[in-house]
Subunit: 428 residues, 2 copies
């Protein structure tokens, strides 16, 4: 039986260089541990002129045209680390059509072009993407292999390190959002243009992929209710803490009788829950299962080497599948699952004029929409301009539809200044 | 290529019944997910007379003689769930010699008879034991597969649910050890004879196995420094909390320049650390790695279905290896690694007579042994019989050898009543 597997890495950026470094420096370690000789045959990039910080890379491995990699009959595994959804998509689809196994860390590509890619790529057979969600943390392997005999009931993930860093530093250092974001940018934890992260889009890509794996149900990211953290203020974190909660950006997917409940938004989580304790750039995925019970996987969700660690683990698995040629671990996919209506408890912060009768007006509108209030908090903690004060309401379970209608009506009241801040409560 | 894999389950107790239930009820789900037809051929036990709470089990599967299972040429995978180290050992060794793949949840067997078993069993090739450590949590799979390209630096585990339940309920409900133990026994979280759990022996079995996997270094449990929790009092948990720590029973293995540092003992852990937040019967393994960074795997470490979930995941992996016949994921084993001397910071609680000069005497002895004190706490919180008071010292890094010598000398002082309580501090 052959033991040699040839790998072509396309995309020699931050992650690509990490993968190359590992494949070159740990070839014998991998051989000893896996019995496989994993040989890096190509490193492909348009530009080799700048230093990647991993020392010299053999000249003979370098190629500039990705087509050369995917058509070479010797290449077994193509590693796509280009990013984006266009050329990356072409690379992945061409490689699969050429009969290669593909490893990718590209969550945008997988979640946005899932139908095309999964028409020829079989997860766990010729398509591997551990690094696309939660970096080094083996969430894909755990769902597919360790939990093979489980029905998964719910996934609750802190899957974006940028947002978690910002929310953690707001809370721990009493910063407003803007300052924490600037600090994160300064430290390299947030991009110059941070929209994909802070508006929850990156998280929606990831929960789209996880839902596909866990439930066999695929929802395009555009169809996922997605709210980011840019409207959260320090005062919300403090009020939440007073009530025993932490605020986290959560990616959620749970199977309900009515359909799949899938969404991304900030949520109040009880402070004693394991997810509340995840701070800084770390990621965590909390899983509810019917056989194994509850589980949390926690670790580094990004960064050169943590992500490369997951990519190389995938390369090994791809190599093994390739050599053994046995059945893949398949997931039966539903590309148009029924999506459930959301019901939730809510934290709402209104900015209101400090005048009698305000609470009566607001609670009247909520009542009309069958939304019942579980607690009210009004303090002078932060008296604002124009004599406004924050008014915090916590509600019982309510329909999202009714809530957004009610919020619209309340926002039109004279006594209500600024758009209300609404955060869902997850009593995990 | 064949798809059918025949399984014999030996031991029809709590876990065995869970495994049988899953194999019978989820055969088609497993087939769909894995492409393999996993057929339960035998259930073996000496006694089928009592109800296992999983409904009726087909008569034709039941056998009483384990030898019938391991010699049947049709059987591919033997699942050993008998427990103990004698007959279980005979079963595992015979099955391996017969060319079967073996799945076991038996940590005592694996850790105590590792040399014999690993002389013919290759982890990940024909020997699978995910369920032996941390129940449902995929610690073995993660170390072996997800972290294949990592050098692991340290493992810090809460691997015994009984101890963690007791320490949690002591702290949360202000109970003394004895009361919390009785409560745990009442709830079925502790055995009638709880020695294996509360004295740390079960944890030493588990860290012996984890060290073998993570470092390729095997240490017999008898050679592992092992302390349990039976001497911990509520007052220790409260003092620790005052100083920002939680007390957990930790199983530790870390590679040091001087050798392998492997041990089990209660430890003070900073309260903000993820491990401090693990309460009740849950388990968690914290891993330090050189490539993936830090990671935590958390979940149910025991119980019928969580453990069965891991066993069935192993059965699937064993079946795949068997059919593919490709190289195992091997670990090169060192059966006599150098074991490092321990250095640590310490929390020490002395019970002393409330009289001037006591602190001077104690600190004099510590100084003679080059142990320097980082803080002293003496309160009237718990004035005891004979006018004694607790005196708490925290030390800087000190040698374990010097410390035990110093403690011996201090214990002989007139003013010191009762044996001092010593808990190591892990500044994770």
């Amino acid at each position: 039986m052959r033991r040699r597997v040839n790998v072509g890495v396309i995309g020699f950026g931050t992650i690509g260089a990490g993968v190359v470094r590992i494949l070159l420096s740990r070839r014998s370690m991998l051989k000893q541990k896996t019995g496989l000789d994993i040989r890096l045959k190509y490193i492909c990039d348009k530009d080799f002129s700048y230093d990647r910080g991993i020392g010299k890379v053999p000249q003979e491995l370098q190629v500039k045209d990705w087509k050369k990699v995917v058509v070479d009959p010797e290449v077994d595994v193509v590693v796509e680390l280009v990013g984006g959804t266009k050329i990356a998509g072409e690379i992945v689809l061409t490689a699969l059509r050429q009969g290669k196994s593909v490893v990718t860390a590209n969550k945008a590509l997988l979640s946005e072009r899932a139908k095309e890619i999964l028409s020829i790529g079989i997860p766990g057979k010729n398509l591997f993407f551990e690094a696309s969600v939660c970096g080094a943390i083996p969430v894909v392997k755990t769902i597919r292999e360790a939990l093979v005999t489980n029905k998964i009931k719910g996934l609750y993930g802190i899957v974006n390190g940028t947002c978690n860093y910002i929310l953690s530093s707001m809370f721990e250092s009493s910063l407003e959002f803007k300052v924490a974001l600037e600090q994160a940018q300064h430290l390299g934890y947030a991009e110059k243009d941070p929209i994909l992260d802070i508006e929850g889009i990156d998280s929606s890509h990831k929960i789209s992929i996880l839902s596909m794996l866990a439930f066999g149900k695929y929802v395009h990211p555009d169809k996922i209710l997605t709210e980011g953290i840019s409207r959260i203020e320090l005062i919300d974190l403090l009020f939440a803490a007073d009530m025993g909660y932490r605020v986290k950006l959560l990616a959620i997917a749970q199977e309900e009788k009515e359909g799949l409940d899938i969404r991304v938004h900030p949520a109040l989580i009880p402070e004693e829950h394991m997810l509340s304790n995840i701070s800084g750039v770390f990621n965590g995925l909390y899983l509810r299962t019917d056989t194994a019970g509850d589980m949390l996987l926690y670790g580094r969700g990004a960064g050169r080497f943590p992500t490369a660690s997951a990519v190389v683990s995938d390369i090994v698995d791809a190599a093994r599948e390739r050599i053994s040629g046995i059945a893949g671990r398949e997931v039966e996919l539903n590309f148009s699952p029924k999506v459930a209506e959301i019901e939730s408890r809510y934290y709402i912060r209104f900015t209101v004029v400090d005048r009698p009768g305000v609470l009566a007006k607001i609670s009247g509108i909520l009542g009309k929409h069958c939304i019942s209030i579980s607690s009210v908090h009004q303090t002078e903690r932060a008296k604002g301009r124009n004599n406004t004060v924050p008014l915090i309401l916590l509600t019982h379970e309510a329909s999202e539809k009714e809530m957004s209608q009610a919020i619209k009506e309340i926002s039109e009241l004279d006594v209500v200044k600024r758009t209300p801040v609404l955060i869902r409560i997850m009593d995990l």
